[in-house]
Each structure stands twice: as structure tokens, then as C-alpha cells.
């Protein structure tokens, strides 16, 4: 299936439209919630700030932090997914499916079981380590064997590693039943309850990873043609793969650290991006970045309105939105190459 935007001008224009959409949804995210605040008030909160206004305070604290988190997690996961799909030549690759989520969660729960529930700032680094660990494990397992890294083996290795971490996590939670209740929301993904201050340390890493992947974009395009061709053309494929892997872990790890275990964004958004711009990774990464942020923000918006005052955990929301799409992709037989 061919992508719909054929020339640079079109790609650029649609990108602008998407970015404008993003801004609109950001404003909506700041305005909508348990207290419905008018758009005008949202603007006032930033440009005509009144310290005593509760609404302004709500906007500048809770709403801003969850919006930013959704943006970070959404774009980070989406780009990580796109990179993974290139790395494994597999249209079904995604951080969640490869166990990065469950690895992060496992390390967190394990830490909490031994040392007591960690504070948010430690959480973030733990999630990183967990994601890295899981990623390495999957890579290692899937590479065993004569035929090396086959796409299907990676997916199944990922599922096995996920199950492995998942059951250990469950085991720990069963032994320490009180702690179970404390991390349930974290386990299912959440954009609420995190201070912006804690998330900020992540930003430089994420920016670094995104920039790195943009720099690598050309090499990714070559890699997609086929590994033999790529080395034939002089590309140092191993180095590229390692750098790709690094970016993936940073992006996925940060997202999990910021927002818990959210599935399917990394899987689906790259495909939506491909629908627009095909497999030119330079454009694809940019589109995926924006669309990922957009989608997760929308999901977050819906998740916090439907059953007020409670919220549907965002990881659940994305799973429900994502599963039908995933099935569609499988049935359609999408390839990573055109």
C-alpha cells in the first residue's frame, strides 16, 4: 500500500496541519477535566496569571504536568516503536511487546519489595534500568540459533520475556500484598500524579535520542533495503544497530519512567505515519513524533472524562484503542518496506 503524500511540499503542509492539531489538543487537554475550564481562562493562566485563581493554579499544576507527560510518553514511545520496526525489520515491533514495559515494572516492584516504595525520582532511573535489561534479554534470546535474529523469533522472545518478568512481578506482589495496592495504577500507566520537576531530568535524554535517530535516518533507510546491501554499500551496520538500540532504550525507558506501562502506541503510530509519508525515516520519525504525542493526549483526555471522578488507566485505554488496529495491521499484512 502506497503512502499518500508524494512530494516534499505536501509532506511539509500536512505536517503543519498536524502540528496545529496538536496545539489544539494541548489546549483542550489544559481546559478539559473534572473542572471544565474555558479556553480563554487557559490563555489567561499563562499570559495574565492570577496567583489566587484556583483555576489558573489547576491549569498550571496538574493539567500542565499531565499534558507534558502525555506529550513526552506519546512521542517517545512512538519514535521508539518506529526505530524498533526498522531494527527488526518487523512491522509488529513495539516497546511493550518486547518486554521493555514489564522489565521496567519488574525492577520497580522488586526494588519496592526490598527497600520499600521508592520516591518518584528514583523510579525514573529504575525504569530505565529495567527497560534496558529487558531489551538486552530479548535481543539475546532471539539471536540464539543459526539463523540469528528473525522477526518472528524476536516477537516471541519478547512475549516470553514479558511473561517472565510479569510472573515474577506478580509473585512479588502476592508476597507483599500491601505494596500491590500502591503500585496498581503505576502498573497500568498513568499521566497523573507526577510532578513536572521530576520529569524534566528526562528531557535532555529524550532530545538526545530523537536527534540521534534523525541523524541516523539516512542510515536507517539504507538498512531497510537489506543488511547485505547495506554493508555492501559500506555501512557499519553493527554500529548503526547499536546506536539505534541505544535510542530505543532511552526513549522507551523514559516513557515508562514518566508514565508507567503504556502499550500499543509504539506499535500503531509508526504505521499511521507510514500511511502519510512511507518509509523515508527522516520524515517518518518527525511524523511519528507528532502523531504519537497527539494520540496519547487524546487517549488521556478520553480516559479522564469517561468515568469521572475516577480515571481509566491510560495503558488500558491505549490497549483498547490499539488492539483493533493491531489486528487490522496483521490481517492486512503490512510490511516495513513498501
Amino acid at each position: 500500500m502506497k503512502h499518500i503524500l508524494r512530494n516534499k511540499k505536501d509532506k511539509f503542509n500536512i505536517l503543519l496541519i498536524l502540528i496545529s492539531l496538536l496545539f489544539i489538543v494541548i489546549i483542550l487537554s489544559l481546559a478539559i477535566g473534572q473542572n471544565f475550564i474555558s479556553v480563554r481562562t487557559v490563555f489567561e493562566a499563562f499570559f495574565d496569571y492570577d496567583q489566587d485563581s484556583t483555576r489558573h493554579l489547576i491549569i498550571r499544576t496538574t493539567r500542565v504536568s499531565r499534558t507534558v507527560i502525555a506529550l513526552i510518553a506519546g512521542s517517545g514511545l512512538a519514535v521508539a516503536g518506529a526505530l524498533m520496526q526498522a531494527l527488526t525489520s518487523n512491522p509488529l515491533a513495539a516497546p511493550g511487546i518486547f518486554g521493555l514495559n514489564s522489565g521496567a515494572v519488574f525492577i520497580l516492584v522488586g526494588f519496592a519489595a526490598i527497600f520499600g516504595t521508592p520516591s518518584m525520582s528514583i523510579n525514573i532511573w529504575l525504569a530505565f534500568i529495567g527497560a534496558l535489561l529487558a531489551g538486552l534479554l530479548v535481543y539475546f534470546i532471539a539471536s540464539i540459533g543459526k539463523r540469528g535474529l528473525s522477526p518472528l523469533k524476536m516477537i516471541l522472545a519478547g512475549a516470553a520475556v514479558t511473561a517472565f518478568f510479569h510472573s515474577f512481578t506478580q509473585g512479588l506482589l502476592v508476597i507483599n500484598q500491601e505494596s500491590l495496592e500502591s503500585v496498581l495504577f503505576w502498573l497500568s500507566g498513568s499521566t497523573a500524579g507526577r510532578d513536572l520537576k521530576m520529569i524534566l531530568p528526562l528531557l535532555p535524554f529524550i532530545l538526545f535520542a530523537v536527534v540521534l535517530s534523525l541523524i541516523l535516518a539516512k542510515d536507517i533507510n539504507i538498512l531497510l533495503i537489506g543488511e547485505d546491501m547495506a554493508s555492501g554499500l559500506g555501512q557499519k551496520t553493527l554500529v548503526i544497530k547499536i546506536l539505534l538500540g541505544l535510542s530505543i532504550v532511552i526513549l522507551a525507558g523514559s516513557s515508562v519512567a514518566a508514565a508507567g506501562a503504556i502499550s500499543f502506541i509504539g506499535l500503531i503510530v509508526p504505521h499511521i505515519g507510514r500511511f502519510f509519508v512511507g518509509n523515508n525515516y527522516y520524515w517518518l520519525i518527525i511524523y511519528t513524533f507528532i502523531i504519537g504525542a497527539l494520540l496519547l493526549l487524546l487517549a488521556d483526555l478520553i480516559a479522564r472524562i469517561i468515568i469521572m471522578p475516577q480515571e481509566i488507566p491510560i495503558g488500558v485505554m491505549t490497549a483498547f484503542m490499539g488492539a483493533p488496529f493491531f489486528v487490522y495491521i496483521v490481517r492486512r499484512g503490512f510490511k516495513v518496506h513498501d
Binding site: 500484598q177 500491601e178 500524579g193 480515571e311
Partner: protein, 309 residues
């Protein structure tokens, strides 16, 4: 003739003795009705195993030291307020999954359990010892009654409940006198955790507060246990005239608590504005579920409202 008379007298004496003796024997075997049906219990059980926190608490209240208990939820393995009374009592595992072999090893003659938790092992438990089950884990009055029946200490149970009722009435009178027209007060029961906050609508603390005459905000009068809140925007949901807050004492929870209570929406709450925010003991208010812990909860209420007893 005289022989026959003698004979009749002896026979009647014998009959009377026999009947009263059999009554005695029959009275020794009671049938106790409970959530899972009926159980026959012989005499006065001495070796009891309690499989939920409320039952352990009530056993101590009735002056009995169980031979086996389950682990507590916090302050493991035994809550601090019960430690003195439960020294050297054997642990039989988790409340949710007590170890059947351990229970059997103790050779109990009565097991007190909860249908909510142990329904599926009722048959196995009954084979170890006569087993009675309370419907839930937080119904403190029913637990006292049930255990009174099962332990053949019905009058002790009645006295415990009467004592409780007396204190409740006393509290009621004194607080009405102190607060007068503003009574009854609307209160919220709140709980903070590492990653979310909760409002408890009903349950253990709710029942006791109801008994004492406290009211709940209209929003909290629903028939569910409560809600879990993840976003600070839901803070207004908590609103009422007074708050009773309990939580675990660790860094993550304290951080969350600090965050939520420094949010502007928090400062707008009535209880906060009137300085009626009370931190209370989570064991007594939520984790123990027995009659002794109910008294501790009541003590705290007396303290907070500065009433004398």
C-alpha cells in the same frame, strides 16, 4: 406393695437423673449458624485458630489466646496493639491463603474464618476442626456475636457489645453537647497511598462513624466501598467538614501526601479551612477490623474532639 412403691421411686429418680443428664450432654453440643451453613460444636473450645484480623482481635477481647493466627497486613506479623496478648502464638500464613497443614498441626477444636476469603477451603477446614465463617472481614459486631456463640461465651459477648454501646452513647451525648447546633458533622474518610488517594464510603471506619452519629457527604452515600483517585483535580470530591486520614508511614506515601495537601484545591476544602483535618492510626481505622480496634478508634475520636470520658 411396698416393693413396688420403692421400685417406682427408684425408677422415677433414675428417669429424672437420666433426663437431666441427657439434657446436659445435649447442651454440650451446640449448633451454630453462620455464613456457610451450620456447624456442630462440642462444649467449650479451647484451641482456636483465627483466620482474619477481626477474629484475632475479638478473640483477645474475649480473653482467649488463639493457638494460631494469620499474619497482619502491616506491622507484621502481629499488630502492635495486640503483641502483648499474642506472645508466642503460632503463625499460620497469610489471611488470604492460610497454610492448611500448619493449621492441622495445631490440632485446633475451632476455626474462625471469613466467607469472603475462605469460602473455597471451607470443606477442608471443616475436616480439620469445626469451622464457622463470618460473611465479611470488617463486621465487628457480627464477629463478636459469632465468636460468642461458637466459643460458648455468649454472655461475655453480650457484655462486650453492651460495653461498646455504652461508650457509643456516651460519645454521642458528649459530642452533641460540645458541638450543639452544628451536629451532626459530615466527615470523610481518606487514605493516601504511594500512587493514588482513596475515599472510603463504607466499610469498617464508615460503620463505626455511622454508629457514632457522624454523617457522610451526599456524594459519599453510595453503596460501594469507595473510590480510588489518581488526579489531584478530584480533590473537591473529598470535601466535607472534617477529615480522618490514615496512611502508611514511608517516604513515597509521605511525598504523595505532601503533594496533594499543598495543591491549591486542597486549601479550598471546608475541613482544611476549618482546621478539622485529623491524622489517625491506619491499623485501628482500616486494617484490624475488630472490636478492640474499634475502641482504639473511639479513643482517638474522644481525643480529637477533646471530650472527656
Amino acid at each position: 406393695m411396698k416393693d413396688i412403691k420403692n421400685y417406682i421411686v427408684i425408677l422415677s429418680v433414675f428417669l429424672v437423673l437420666a433426663i437431666s443428664f441427657s439434657n446436659l450432654v445435649m447442651a454440650e453440643t451446640r449448633i451454630v449458624k453462620h455464613a456457610m451453613g451450620e456447624t456442630e460444636i462440642n462444649g467449650t473450645p479451647k484451641r482456636i485458630v483465627t483466620l482474619y484480623q477481626g477474629a484475632t482481635d475479638t478473640a483477645v477481647a474475649m480473653g482467649i489466646k488463639p493457638v494460631g493466627i494469620v499474619e497482619s497486613w502491616v506491622e507484621k506479623p502481629v499488630y502492635k496493639y495486640l503483641r502483648d496478648d499474642l506472645e508466642n502464638v503460632k503463625q499460620v500464613g497469610l489471611e488470604t491463603q492460610p497454610n492448611l497443614e500448619e493449621i492441622n498441626k495445631l490440632n485446633p477444636d475451632l476455626i474462625i474464618a471469613s466467607k469472603m476469603r475462605h469460602e473455597d477451603i471451607y470443606n477442608l477446614l471443616s475436616q480439620i476442626a469445626p469451622t464457622v465463617m463470618e460473611e465479611n472481614v470488617f463486621r465487628y459486631r457480627e464477629t463478636v456475636k459469632l465468636m460468642g456463640e461458637a466459643l460458648n461465651k455468649q454472655s461475655k459477648a453480650q457484655r462486650i457489645l453492651k460495653n461498646w454501646d455504652q461508650r457509643v452513647n456516651d460519645f454521642n451525648k458528649k459530642i452533641k453537647k460540645k458541638i450543639q447546633d452544628d451536629w451532626p458533622i459530615k466527615v470523610s474518610v481518606l487514605n493516601f497511598r504511594a500512587d493514588h488517594a482513596r475515599i472510603y464510603y463504607s466499610g469498617y471506619a464508615g460503620r463505626i462513624l455511622n454508629e457514632l452519629g457522624f454523617e457522610r457527604p451526599d456524594k459519599h452515600k453510595k453503596d460501594i466501598w469507595g473510590v480510588k483517585l489518581t488526579s489531584k483535580e478530584s480533590i473537591p470530591e473529598m470535601n466535607s467538614e472534617a477529615f480522618f486520614i490514615f496512611m502508611s508511614d514511608n517516604e513515597a506515601v509521605n511525598n504523595t501526601y505532601k503533594e496533594w495537601t499543598s495543591h491549591p484545591l486542597w486549601k479550598n476544602l471546608d475541613a482544611v479551612k476549618n482546621d478539622q483535618v485529623f491524622e489517625v492510626d491506619q491499623v485501628a481505622w482500616n486494617m484490624a477490623g475488630g472490636i478492640k480496634s474499634a475502641h482504639i478508634m473511639l479513643d482517638q475520636l474522644y481525643d480529637h474532639f477533646e471530650l472527656d470520658e
